[in-house]
Symmetry: D2
Subunit: 299 residues, 4 copies
């Protein structure tokens, strides 16, 4: 045979699920997009088209909905653990399951009276969870994307390398803005109680925001490192975090041709540039921890 099959996997992506729980007149809402990826003894589907070991992706979808009603959605991570365990333990040809979840936040609409069943989508960042299980070992990655932040001062960019193609001027006071994508890895749970995933998430988010706001920045790289270190220093159960920070450039407008001074003590006007953008990515580890969050090859 001139060709052979390498790594293969399959699944169902972007299963949109809303779970509403009624606690008397007070309702609760979980809003998720769930993706399931399975791999194992499935080579024959590729070689001969035999589907004997392939559970239809339609069944994966049904399972997600059924589990949501039977077991509830305790948290993104907790729901992912339920699903990953099910697929690996219930089907022999499935050797490995990965569940990815995006969660969209909603706030309550304050209403007079006793009922509490009205919500407005908060629009804050998207929470993410990635759970992997191979029958023996678990890996739980929590994270977020689209957390857009901006410091209007306390950021400089100086002392950088220069070559023939460098025209950028140094600055000791610039706007620093980024849209945070972060993925953090929870330490193995051996003997340790499972964390309160929602609390852990809110704390990690808080440390990311706090470190971004509190760092006097000499570069976005430095800010990134402080953000990652802040999460690891403050959250025992997190050993590794990977951050991807696009530099959302805000360029002061040149108003000199119009006899107008920009960037005065009172303020300034900036162009918010869409493309291109700098992109800073790094992993921060607890000293001694092994790096296991994969680097995204598409960036």
């Amino acid at each position: 045979m001139a060709t052979t099959l390498g790594h293969h996997q399959y699944g169902k992506a972007e299963i949109r699920l809303v779970r509403i729980t009624r606690d008397g007149d007070t309702h609760h809402l979980k809003d998720l997009a769930v993706s399931v990826v399975l791999s194992g003894d499935m080579a024959e589907a590729h070689y001969s088209g035999s589907n004997a070991n392939v559970l239809p992706t339609d069944t994966l979808k049904n399972t997600v909905y059924a589990f949501a009603q039977e077991h509830g959605v305790p948290s993104a991570e907790g729901f992912g653990i339920l699903l990953a365990r099910h697929f690996v333990t219930s089907r022999a040809p499935v050797h490995h399951a990965r569940v990815r979840i995006e969660e969209y936040a909603w706030d309550r609409i304050a209403t007079p009276g006793r009922g509490a069943h009205s919500f407005v989508r908060s629009g804050r960042e998207v929470r993410t969870a990635r759970v992997a299980f191979d029958g023996r070992k678990w890996e739980v990655l929590s994270g977020l994307r689209d957390l857009t932040v901006l410091n209007s001062t306390d950021s400089e960019f100086r002392g950088y390398a220069k070559d023939r193609y460098t025209t950028l001027e140094e600055t000791d006071d610039r706007v620093l803005a980024t849209s945070v994508t972060a993925v953090w890895r929870h330490a193995d749970g051996d003997g340790r109680p499972e964390p309160d995933w929602d609390l852990s998430y809110e704390r990690a988010r808080g440390h990311l925001l706090g470190a971004f706001a509190g760092t006097y920045s000499r570069s976005l790289q430095q800010t990134l490192y402080r953000m990652g270190a802040s999460v690891i220093d403050n959250l025992d159960g997190i050993d590794e975090i990977r951050l991807s920070l696009p530099n959302r450039h805000h360029v002061p407008v040149d108003l000199e041709p119009f006899g107008i001074e920009n960037d005065t003590a009172e303020g300034a006007v900036y162009v918010a540039v869409d493309r291109p953008y700098g992109l800073i990515e790094a992993t921060v580890l607890r000293a001694g921890a092994e790096p296991r969050i994969p680097v995204d090859p598409t960036r």
Copy 2:
């Protein structure tokens, strides 16, 4: 001549502008996308290519940035008024100017210490403003889009018309969700002080949310009307509002094949459907007011 020119206009679209104001250590941030549309005595540009009456769109962009620094951005509506007046009064061939603004909200990141220059994009709905001026008359439309709301009960849909193609079953308890687009028109300002645009916006938004949450809904049409009426009833200066409400269908999953009861007293699981979606649109008017918000022909 076999052909002739009809309605024509030109402008610059999506000028991204961030204005930062420094009040000592406390900074303030306005984040806008501004579009300017001019019309008037410009037919010759089309017929012969003479640009004598055409101010370049690049100049429109420069003007927006220059005005933001010179005059500040008091509010989306206030900034639009400044710009529209400028273009109509400073250039004879410009007979009519329209300025459209989208504003993106940011929250402060709470930080210890005295400084306040860190922000996180709130992700809540986008605020909109459309200001038109023809040299004599003003029209100011405020609004919003992407305000996504959901009631998990107190919504039914019954007693509707049926024909050969009707399969939908009646329900007395469904999820009602929509993503509000609203545009409201301020009464003419003759003799009346200009409103506090930001306060007016927050109040209109609050009434939209309150009426959505507080209405026991027999149809999305009814909810729409109550939302619009609530704004007009409570805000003196608003005479007309147009609402566009996609029905973001949440369909209970059929779990019967798996022996699982969905939609119990404790809760239920729903598919959040992307497409297709119902789309309900209507104008609500103060009694006696003239309808002037145009109907969007593309929907």
Copy 3:
């Protein structure tokens, strides 16, 4: 009553439909997104929540699919006519129906052998149709969007108005690029055979492309007019066309700091700018025709 209902309508949007026709081993494919909008005697749904005159939007969806199978999809316009007639003539409370259709083009994949059932999405522009019927009068608007075109020469921009905020330099050779949105109106069909909609579309598209490519352009306004006039001059049944042309700016890069000459006789390098963009919009009419294509108020 302090408030009253103005213009109102409802419908189902973005019904995704693929129709495959089998002609022996040769298959044909139509790929559409259909939206239906109805209006008429529906005020009560807003005032009291009575749905007696409201056909569910779910029924509109069912009808679209059923008609596609029963009657086929002769063309986007033809299908829209079938649907609009049905809704207005079959339901007394429906006084007016509008059907909007987007059509996505596919090419055949050339295959050896007799079968012809493999397709690749062409990715060319999206074809659009808007059909309106009020029980007596028809209006058929055909069109397209996302037809992106570029001339690498034969475009200048000079002799324009200048003011305090003008910094743009005149040029006698620039790149001219735009992404065409066009809507054209077919003359009333009284006594005239219904056109071959597909042929009419291809001819209109061809004239738009030909006029864009063939015009030595002094401004995008001039190019717009020539494009519109070319359609009307060459297609008897079209009385009016509205064009919306964003100016997709291509700015020569300043390479002087690196001692490199840009824009030589051999070629040049440009930044393709996303935002902001100029936006030129106009209607071209057959002399004597009445303008009936509405101006989009959201631009």
Copy 4:
């Protein structure tokens, strides 16, 4: 130190570049989005904020534009090789460079007369290239995304595994549609002339299309394998290919409630479903070749 830095990289993303070459009256056009990622001795930027080893991302952007004018854009891959070599060889702290390129295709607009400077964006799939260089070894990955294809017959799905949550019915004639993302790896160039990248691309694309159209499919997995094998079997210089195939479900509409038979010998009507979708991913290797295309961890 409680934390340490793991893998880190930085760069400039989505540099939009159009290069026009003039060959007398005949012009040629290349339309690219280029991203550059560098890594090496940059830890200090993270720890202390020292930027001494960091070339600004603004300089990366300038370099891309300067190279495009100085050296031209022979092909996506060839341009990436030029850039990657430059960054690694010209800056000691840069140990590794990766260049990712997206290329957008344009067709000529046929025009009478001698000139040939008018283009229409073809909208076909996006061509991709990823070039990596560490000073010694090269890796060149070519590919494409958004190649959307459909077979209207010759696809079945039967004999699959079933469990408690399986409701899908077997079918021996279904629509099979997908939107191909493919990345293929070129064998090391030692002693071998560099391929004609454009020709290689067109041939790979042709084999992907041909194998998709020509395979009687028992599963999308089988089709995927045939597509990959066809590329490797027919193109000497390609040793590995990774395919990611979303199953774009086309579900026959149930028209029975309306007394209409769907799916007759003459044809059928389908719902084109957006979400969720099956997602089949696999690598196909030349026998004996080492797998080196990384698996995307975000899917």
